[in-house]
C-alpha cells in the first residue's frame, strides 16, 4: 500500500459518520422556490440539478479519485422527501449505541426550523403509512414483515457496461432522438414520456455539471499548491473530470472516475437501497487496463493505487441513517455496494482476467467495510481464482463471499431473461440475482415465516400485540394430523402474503407517481427507449421480491411438532402450547427434548429436509409469478441481513425449543447450534432447497481458523465450495471465528453446538471439549492473529 493510500484509508476509518443537513436544506430551498407547474419528473430532475450545482464539493489531500456525496468524507445526507426525521429521530441517531451518526446543534436547528416545517406529513414515508390498510399496519406492528420502501427508495440495481461505451452527452443525444420520435397522435402516453425524457436529459446534465465543478476546483487547487507533484496530479484530475462522465472514458483512471461520478449521481438523487454498484468491475476495466499497459501509461502498481483510491471513496459513504424497524432489519453502516469478480463473459467464456487478481489484491490490502466484494465462481473459472479468493476469506473479516455464477445464469433464465442478459448478470446487495444494467429487482421486505407459524398455533392471534392479526385457521388442539396443521399454516401464509402484496402494489405506484428517478433511468436499459422511469417499469426487466427468512428455524419447529406431538407423543399439542405460552418456564424437560431430540435441518436428515422443501414450496407457490404493477412478477429469495434478530425479538417461544425473543436462524443457515454433522451435511441439506427457483439464497458457515490453515485447509474450503455449487447451491460465505466467539461459546454452549475447531491432528466440536482445552484453543486462536 502506498503512503498516499495508507493515509486516505486511515482518514476514512477514523472519521465517525455524521449527519449532513446540506442536502435536506438545499432540497427544501428548491421546493419552496420552484415552479409549481412543473411535472413531477422534471421537478425531480431540476432538484438534482439544483443540488449538484450548489452542494459543497471537496477534494481530499492526495486523493486521485474525487467526489463525495456529503460535503466531505463520512458526511451522510438525509432525504426528507422520503423520510423526514423527527427531532427525536435525530437524538436517537446521535446517541444510539450501535450505528450512530453524530448530529450537530446546527443540523438540529436546520431540521427543526427549515426541514420539518416543509416536509412533515408530505414525505414518502408519510404517504405510505397513510395509504396502508389497518390489516397491513397490524401485521407490520406484529412483526410479520418489514417494508423496505418506508424510508428508502427502490434501488437494488447494478450498472452494466453502458458508461464505458457511451458518455452522458451521447445518452442525452439518444434522449433527444426519443423526444423527437414521440407520437402525440398515436400514443396516449406521449406526454408522460416527454416529461420523463426531459427529466432524464436534465438529470444527465446535472451530473455532468457536478463533474465540471470538480474540474474547476482541481484546477484552482493546482494553482494554489506549492507542491509540484501534487500540482501535476490536480491538473490531471481536472482533465479527467473535464472529460468524464460527459464523454466515454479513454483510460483506466477516467473509467474509475466516470463510474464514481455516476455512482454519486444515483445515490444523491435518491437514497436507493443497496446504493449502486459497478457490477463486473474486472470485466469493465480489463480493456482499459490492457490498453494502459500496452501504451505504457499504466503499470500494475499505478492501476492498483487508483483502485485503492476508488475503494476509499465507497467507504466514505455510510448507509443513509435508518430509524425504526428499517434500522433493525438492516443495522449496519454498509450500504451493500457489492463488487463482482470473475464469472462468465457475455459469450459464455471464462471472465477471469489479470484485473480480477488485481482487484482481489486490493480487497485483501484495503480490508474495508465498503465496498463489499464477491467471487462469481463458474465451473469455467480457474482454481487459482477460487484459491486467491479463499486466501482472503480465511483472514476472517468476512469478505469476499462466493457465488455460483452458473447457477445465477440459470436463475435468470428461469425468470425469462435472454441468454445474453443472463450472462451479463450477477449478484448484488447481499445475494440478489439480477440482469446488470437492465433490471429493477426490488426487495420489498423480509417475511417472518416463524411468526406466521406462531400465529397459526394461536389460531390467528398475536400474543405480543394482543390482536387477532391472522385468520381463524382453527385451534391446533383439534388438529388430528400434522397435515391439518400444515394446511392451517398455509392459510395464514396466504393471508399475510396477500396483505404484503396489496401494500407493495400501492407503494410501487406511489414511487412511480411521486418519486421518479430520472438519473438512474438514464443508466438502465430500456428506460430511454420506453420513455419510462426506473420506478415505473422503464427497465427491460422488473422484478419484485419478498424475502423468506429463517427456513432453518421454521423447519425445526414443524419437525418438532410432527415428531414429538404427532408421532412420538412426547407431549400433547395442549402441553406444547402451554409450554410455549410460558416460554418453557417449568417445562425445561420438554424444551430439552424439543431442542436436542428433534430431527433438525442442517444434518442431511431426510425427515427434516423434506419439511424444508414443503415450506419452500408453500412460500414459493404463494408468491412466485404474481404480477407487480410494472409488467413484471413477484419472486422469492432467502436472506435476512440482520432481520432474523429483529424477527426473533418479536417472536415468542417456538416449538424447536427456542426461547422467546431470541434470534431466529439466519439466511438459509441451520438454526444456531442445530447442525451437528459438520459442514458437508449442512451443504447437503442446503442443497435440497431448489435454488434455481429463487433469486438468491444465503448460506453462512462458521469455521475456527485452525481448521482452514495451510494449503490443505485452503483445498478443503475450495472443495466445499465447488461441491456445494455442483449441487446447485447459490451462495456460501465462511466466517472464520474469532477468540471472542469461542468465549461466547464457552458461556452459551447450547447456541454453539455446531462450532467445529481443529484440536490437533483432528477436529472436534468446541463445546465437547473440556474447559481447559477450550481455553487453550482460545489462546491459540488469539495467537493466530484474529
Amino acid at each position: 500500500m502506498t503512503e498516499r493510500v495508507a493515509r486516505l484509508r486511515a482518514c476514512s476509518l477514523e472519521i465517525k459518520p455524521w449527519l449532513s443537513l446540506e442536502r435536506a436544506q438545499l432540497m427544501t430551498e428548491f421546493y419552496l422556490a420552484c415552479d409549481a407547474a412543473l411535472s413531477t419528473p422534471v421537478r425531480r430532475a431540476q432538484s438534482l440539478a439544483y443540488l449538484m450545482e450548489r452542494k459543497a464539493i471537496h477534494i481530499e489531500d492526495g486523493e486521485l479519485i474525487v467526489g463525495e456525496r456529503g460535503p466531505s468524507p463520512k458526511g451522510t445526507p438525509s432525504y426528507p422527501e422520503l423520510c423526514c426525521h423527527s427531532m427525536e429521530d435525530l437524538e436517537i441517531l446521535h446517541t444510539r449505541e450501535k450505528i450512530s451518526y453524530s448530529v450537530s446543534d446546527e443540523a438540529r436547528r436546520i431540521q427543526r426550523e427549515e426541514v420539518i416545517p416543509y416536509w412533515r406529513g408530505g414525505s414518502m414515508r408519510d404517504r405510505i403509512f397513510a395509504e396502508m390498510t389497518p390489516e397491513w399496519k397490524d401485521a407490520y406492528a406484529a412483526g410479520i414483515f418489514t417494508e423496505f420502501m418506508e424510508q428508502r427508495a427502490p434501488g437494488h440495481t447494478v450498472l452494466g457496461d453502458l458508461i464505458y461505451r457511451k458518455g452522458l452527452r451521447q445518452l442525452q443525444a439518444e434522449i433527444d432522438a426519443a423526444l423527437a420520435a414521440l407520437d402525440f397522435q398515436g400514443d396516449p402516453r406521449a406526454w408522460d414520456r416527454q416529461q420523463e425524457l426531459k427529466a432524464m436529459r436534465i438529470a444527465a446534465g446535472a451530473v455532468m455539471r457536478f463533474a465540471e465543478r470538480h474540474a474547476d476546483l482541481a484546477r484552482r487547487m493546482a494553482d494554489e499548491t506549492a507542491d509540484i507533484a501534487r500540482r501535476n496530479e490536480l491538473l490531471h484530475i481536472a482533465e479527467v473530470c473535464r472529460r468524464v462522465p460527459a464523454e466515454a472514458p479513454r483510460d483506466f483512471h477516467e473509467a474509475l472516475q466516470a463510474y464514481w461520478f455516476v455512482h454519486l449521481g444515483v445515490i444523491t438523487e435518491l437514497n436507493t437501497w443497496d446504493s449502486f454498484s459497478p457490477g463486473r468491475l474486472d470485466q469493465h476495466l480489463a480493456p482499459f487496463y490492457e490498453g494502459g499497459l500496452a501504451n505504457g501509461a499504466l503499470t500494475r502498481e499505478t492501476a492498483q493505487e487508483l483502485l485503492q483510491c476508488f475503494w476509499v471513496k465507497f467507504n466514505n459513504q455510510p448507509a443513509p441513517p435508518k430509524v425504526g424497524v428499517t434500522a433493525a432489519e438492516s443495522g449496519t453502516y454498509t450500504d451493500f455496494c457489492n463488487i463482482n469478480t470473475g464469472g462468465l463473459k457475455g459469450d459464455g467464456s471464462d471472465g477471469v482476467s489479470e484485473v480480477t487478481y488485481l482487484i482481489l489484491d486490493v480487497i485483501d490490502e484495503m480490508r474495508l467495510l465498503q465496498p463489499s466484494s464477491n467471487l462469481q465462481l463458474s465451473k469455467k473459472n480457474p482454481e487459482r481464482f477460487l484459491k486467491r479468493g479463499l486466501e482472503i476469506v480465511r483472514k476472517g473479516w468476512g469478505q469476499p463471499s462466493i457465488f455460483n455464477a452458473d447457477m445465477v445464469v440459470e436463475e435468470l433464465l428461469r425468470q425469462g431473461k435472454s441468454m445474453e442478459d443472463a450472462r451479463a448478470g450477477g449478484t448484488s446487495g447481499c445475494v440478489e440475482t439480477g440482469a446488470f444494467g437492465k433490471e429493477a429487482y426490488i426487495l420489498t421486505g423480509y417475511f417472518n415465516t416463524a411468526k406466521v407459524l406462531e400465529i397459526t398455533l394461536c389460531n390467528g392471534y398475536d400474543r405480543r400485540t394482543g390482536k387477532q392479526v391472522g385468520v381463524r385457521s382453527g385451534d391446533p388442539r383439534e388438529f388430528a394430523t400434522y397435515g391439518e396443521l400444515f394446511t392451517a399454516f398455509r392459510r395464514q401464509l396466504k393471508h399475510f402474503v396477500d396483505i404484503k402484496i396489496r401494500g407493495n402494489q400501492v407503494i410501487e405506484r406511489l414511487y412511480a407517481v411521486h418519486m421518479p428517478a430520472p438519473f438512474l433511468s438514464v443508466l438502465v436499459d430500456d428506460c430511454i427507449a420506453k420513455g419510462r422511469d426506473y420506478n415505473d417499469g422503464g427497465p427491460r426487466y422488473n422484478t419484485t421480491y419478498i424475502m423468506g427468512t429463517s427456513p432453518g428455524s421454521v423447519t425445526d419447529c414443524l419437525s418438532a411438532i410432527k415428531h414429538h406431538v404427532y408421532e412420538r407423543g412426547t407431549a400433547t399439542m395442549d402441553e406444547l402450547l402451554c409450554a410455549l405460552e410460558a416460554d418453557f418456564a417449568g417445562c425445561e424437560k420438554l424444551r430439552l427434548q424439543l431442542w436436542n431430540k428433534t430431527p433438525k435441518y442442517g444434518n442431511d436428515d431426510a425427515y427434516a429436509d423434506a419439511i424444508l422443501r414443503e415450506i419452500f414450496d408453500a412460500f414459493y407457490d404463494e408468491i412466485n409469478g404474481r404480477p407487480n404493477t410494472k409488467g413484471g412478477a413477484y419472486r422469492v429469495n432467502y436472506l435476512s441481513t440482520t432481520c432474523h434478530v429483529y424477527f426473533g425479538s418479536v417472536t415468542g417461544a417456538t416449538p424447536d425449543g427456542r426461547h422467546a425473543w431470541e434470534p431466529l436462524s439466519d439466511g438459509i443457515s441451520p438454526a444456531q447450534g442445530a447442525d451437528r454433522q459438520g459442514p458437508t451435511a449442512v451443504i447437503q441439506s442446503a442443497a435440497k432447497l431448489d435454488h434455481a427457483r429463487t433469486g438468491g439464497t444465503l448460506l453462512n458457515q462458521k469455521f475456527a481458523p485452525q481448521l482452514v490453515e495451510g494449503e490443505a485447509g485452503l483445498n478443503h474450503l475450495a472443495s466445499l465450495v465447488r461441491s456445494y455449487f455442483k449441487l446447485d447451491g447459490h451462495h456460501i460465505q465462511f466466517n472464520i471465528v474469532t477468540a471472542e466467539t469461542l468465549r461466547e461459546a464457552q458461556r452459551d454452549p447450547e447456541k454453539h453446538k455446531d462450532l467445529i475447531v481443529r484440536v490437533a491432528g483432528y477436529s472436534d466440536y468446541f463445546c465437547d471439549l473440556t474447559p481447559a482445552l477450550q481455553g487453550e484453543i482460545i489462546a491459540r486462536t488469539e495467537q493466530a492473529g484474529f
Binding site: 425445561e588 424437560k589 420438554l590 424444551r591 430439552l592 427434548q593 424439543l594 431442542w595 436436542n596 431430540k597 442431511d604 454433522q677 459438520g678 459442514p679 458437508t680 451435511a681 451443504i683 447437503q684 481448521l707 490443505a712 483445498n715 478443503h716 472443495s719 466445499l720 465447488r722 461441491s723 455442483k726 449441487l727 467445529i756 481443529r758 484440536v759 490437533a760 491432528g761 483432528y762 477436529s763 472436534d764 465437547d768 471439549l769 473440556t770 481447559a772 482445552l773 487453550e776
Partner: protein, 305 residues
C-alpha cells in the same frame, strides 16, 4: 437370503464422522470401529477400547429429571447423590439415551451392517470426488473386525471410493496383508520401539506390530507411519533415536507426528474411568519440530507439518 452378501456383514461402530480432514487425503468420512486390542494410556477415544457398547454419562449436563430411570426397561438406573448411575443390570440397550433431552446420556457403539455404513459414506461422494477424499476405517482397531473391514473395503472398491485404514497394527499377519491389500493407503500407528515400555503403556508388546509393518512395506503397500508424540512417554532421546534407526531402514511413504492433547480426559470421566496420565501437558510445537528435524536428518521421509 443371499449367502456371502458382503453388505449384510455386521459390526460394532462407535462413530461415523463426516468432513474428517486429517486421516488421509481430501475430505473424508471416518468410520470408527469399536474395540481395540491395545489400551494406550493416552488414548483420546477411550470409548473405542471395549468390544461392547458403552453408556457414557455427563453429570454436568444431567438435570436429574429421572426420565432415564423411568424409561429403563431393565430398572438399571438409580440416583446416587447428584448422579444418575447404572447398576450391573444395564444391558446397554440405549433406551435411556432416547429419553435424555439434556444429552447427559449417550451410548457409544451401535451395531451396523456394511450396507448401512456404505450408505452413510456415500452421502458425501460429491465432496470425495472434488477433494480426492474417501473413507477412512479407524477405531478402535479396524482389523479387530476383519469381516466387516473386508466387506467395507470391497464395497468401496467396487464403488470407486478411495479408502484408508488407520491401524495400530496389532492383528494376525495374514489378515493385515490380505485385507490391507484392498485399501488404497494404510495409516500405521507407531508408538514406542522399546518392547517393555510398549507393553507398559499400551498393554501389549510390539513385536507383532513391527513385523506387520515390515511385511506391509515388503508387500509394496502404500504405508504412512503416524507417531503420537506424548510428552514423558515417547519423546525422550532414546525413544527418538530408536524410532529414527528403525524408520530409516524402512521404505515407508512418509512419517507424520501427531501432537498429544489431553482432550480425552472428559471422556474418561463420562465412562466412569480413571485417566492414568492426568498431568501430561500438550506436546509443544518446538519439541515436535526438533523430533521431525532429527528424523529428517536420519533420512526418514517426514511430512511437512
Amino acid at each position: 437370503m443371499i449367502v456371502n452378501n458382503k453388505v449384510e456383514v455386521r459390526g460394532l461402530i462407535f462413530n461415523i464422522m463426516r468432513f474428517s480432514l486429517h486421516d488421509g487425503p481430501g475430505i473424508r468420512t471416518a468410520v470408527f470401529f469399536k474395540g481395540c486390542p491395545l489400551s494406550c494410556l493416552w488414548c483420546h477415544n477411550p470409548e473405542s477400547q471395549n468390544f461392547t457398547p458403552d453408556v457414557m454419562y455427563s453429570a454436568e449436563r444431567c438435570q436429574l429429571c429421572g426420565e432415564c430411570r423411568t424409561a429403563c426397561p431393565h430398572s438399571a438406573i438409580q440416583r446416587v447423590g447428584d448422579r444418575m448411575t447404572v447398576t450391573e443390570d444395564c444391558q446397554r440397550c440405549g433406551t435411556c439415551v432416547d429419553f435424555c433431552g439434556a444429552e447427559a446420556r449417550t451410548v457409544s457403539g451401535r451395531e451396523m451392517t456394511a450396507g448401512e455404513i456404505i450408505k452413510e459414506i456415500e452421502r458425501d461422494l460429491v465432496f470425495f470426488d472434488d477433494s480426492g477424499g474417501g473413507a477412512t476405517f479407524t477405531g478402535g482397531e479396524p482389523f479387530s473386525q476383519p469381516e466387516l473391514l473386508e466387506a467395507l473395503l470391497t464395497e468401496c472398491r467396487s464403488r470407486r471410493i478411495h479408502t484408508a485404514i488407520e491401524t495400530c497394527g496389532a492383528a494376525p499377519r495374514e489378515q493385515v496383508l490380505r485385507i490391507g491389500a484392498l485399501a488404497d493407503i494404510i495409516l500405521y500407528d507407531l508408538k514406542i520401539l522399546d518392547a517393555g515400555r510398549h507393553r507398559t503403556y499400551t498393554g501389549a508388546g510390539n513385536r507383532n506390530i513391527l513385523e506387520n509393518l515390515e511385511a506391509l512395506v515388503a508387500a509394496g503397500r502404500q504405508v504412512a507411519v503416524r507417531i503420537p508424540v506424548v510428552p514423558g512417554v515417547n519423546d525422550g532421546a532414546d525413544d527418538v533415536r530408536q524410532a529414527c534407526e528403525y524408520l530409516a531402514g524402512l521404505a515407508v511413504e512418509r512419517v507424520e507426528f501427531l501432537p498429544y492433547h489431553p482432550t480425552g480426559t472428559e471422556k474418561y470421566r463420562r465412562l466412569g474411568r480413571e485417566y492414568l496420565l492426568p498431568d501430561t501437558p500438550s506436546t509443544d510445537a518446538e519439541s515436535m519440530a526438533q523430533i521431525a528435524a532429527q528424523m529428517r536428518a536420519a533420512g526418514v521421509p517426514v511430512k511437512q507439518q
